[in-house]
Symmetry: C2
Subunit: 313 residues, 2 copies
């Protein structure tokens, strides 16, 4: 097998970097891990500073730059912002500024919602009506509306901020009458208006996908961040713009070789284990804790005028 390489034609064993303000992005990490088991991943959850959804865009942008600097130091080949707040508030400013591609759940969610055939569909039978739900900051940013309408200018987008859904999911009330009542309270107007697709614009929401599916019925297609990112990574692998860790590598037993997975958080709450198990579906995950100062320092290093560009080999 060839050595680590950044070429897209040979194997690229660098990790897929994934980050979120907290643990919710683990729903994305889990889906990526399942879809591409040979790929190493590196997850960072900024749990000391969660939630980003209530913070100002300037603060969110600063935190995002810190985390991108940290992940780049971990040797990653792509960075996934598995955080809707970051994708909405910070990614447009950051994209293109680095030597690794940056993708976020907003653009990829819009892509998955609109669908690849939308652009080629000559005469649409009826205009698309796409619903978007998320935190206050995500919805207020209008980022999904812009991302959808860039791809499907005729599409009507109906948005609704649902700030109570995250705490309900973190309470474990995914199938609870209170959650059903809150969904009804927030989303009955959207259902009455009629939508064909609903973007679950928050990484927590895959956990209440069943409750949302029942509320909206089978005629509404649900698109969540986890599947949107998997779809985007698959397209990048298939087109060769992103190198696979090891195409078809198998272990001696014939099983695909499993890429290394590293998980970092900046703090542990008293319900940490419980939440990791809920989001990752693994209760015995090894998670390394680092201070959020480590992120700040990574940005300081990254922004320092480079006096030593030599890398250790």
């Amino acid at each position: 097998m060839s050595d680590v390489s950044s070429s897209s034609t040979s194997a690229d064993r660098r990790a897929i970097g994934i980050f979120d303000s907290g643990l919710g992005g683990m729903t994305v990490a889990r889906a990526v891990r399942r879809a591409f088991p040979a790929e190493p991943i590196c997850y960072l959850g900024d749990t000391a500073r969660v939630p980003y959804g209530t913070k100002s865009p300037a603060t969110v942008r600063r935190y995002a730059r810190e985390i991108v600097a940290f992940l780049r130091e971990q040797s990653v080949k792509i960075i996934v912002a598995a955080c809707n707040t970051v994708s909405a508030a910070a990614l447009p400013d950051l994209d293109g500024a680095y030597d690794v591609p940056l993708i976020g759940v907003v653009e990829m969610g819009a892509e998955a919602a609109v669908g690849p055939d939308e652009k080629t569909r000559a005469e649409s039978p009826k205009p698309r009506r796409i619903g978007v739900i998320g935190t206050e900051t995500t919805i207020a940013s209008g980022a999904y509306v812009r991302a959808i309408q860039r791809r499907a200018p005729e599409a009507e987008v109906i948005q609704k901020a649902c700030p109570l859904l995250v705490p309900l999911i973190e309470e474990g009330w995914n199938r609870h009458r209170v959650t059903n009542l809150v969904i009804e309270e927030y989303l009955a107007p959207m259902r009455n208006e009629g939508i064909d697709t609903l973007i679950l614009g928050c990484t927590h929401y895959p956990l209440i996908r069943p409750a949302l599916g029942e509320f909206f019925g089978r005629e509404v297609r649900l698109v969540d961040s986890a599947e949107a990112i998997v779809q985007a990574l698959r397209a990048a692998f298939d087109s060769g713009t992103l190198g696979r860790a090891a195409a078809g590598a198998v272990s001696p037993a014939g099983e695909p070789a499993r890429g290394e997975a590293r998980y970092f958080v900046t703090d542990r709450s008293n319900r940490f284990r419980e939440l990791v198990a809920a989001f990752m579906g693994e209760s015995d995950l090894t998670v390394e804790q680092i201070s959020s100062d480590v992120l700040t320092e990574a940005l300081t290093r990254a922004e320092r005028p480079s006096t030593d560009d030599a890398r250790s080999s």
Copy 2:
């Protein structure tokens, strides 16, 4: 009128420092302002790092030390931790370490719940049954249980973490069927067990006091953080351990002179104005924003070996 002085017998025009992880502590600031209009106050809401309730005790302690350092630089005569998480996790370590007294909502809430006559009451007709509600971290700390049982060893304490109440209040659903349902879900067992007093162990909760009052009925006395702190400050003023800004000072119009009020936050969310209005009852409050780095730097200064102890006069 005499000049600023730290003596307890003459006027002490230094401010009452009040802090919280966010804006919830403004319910305390508001009550203090109403009870003691002549007193200057200085409020700090660490909104960039809110909520503390999901963070580790070590992180909460570090943040509390930073804020105490910042408030001491603002010239305060007492510091009120209007944050249950800080009072529970950090105050026992901090108390006595400074030249200004530190009081917190946990000890003062327990004091108000137990009542001044409890210690002198020879033979209690029946043992006290005190309920406590709060965030996960506050409840998990057991701080209220210890604070109550130090004052009334026979008291039975029934606790319940209610993590959804804060987001419901921040959503403005103070009188909403969902909030009533959540209260019922969390607190029906406590009501069935029977309590005589309920401590509202979170600074947000005064806003749902009516809903809680209806749920528990008139036979249960509700004690909230705001009234507990006012009661503690009044006792300190009356006993002379804390100097008043100006005893009986009146303006030329005969109105009591109003102390200066300064409000600092470390971030502004998109619903900032709305929340300030909800907690303070004033919609046109001037609030100064500082970086949370300012807090960190205050602690660095405070912990630096003192090379210049001289104060500017």
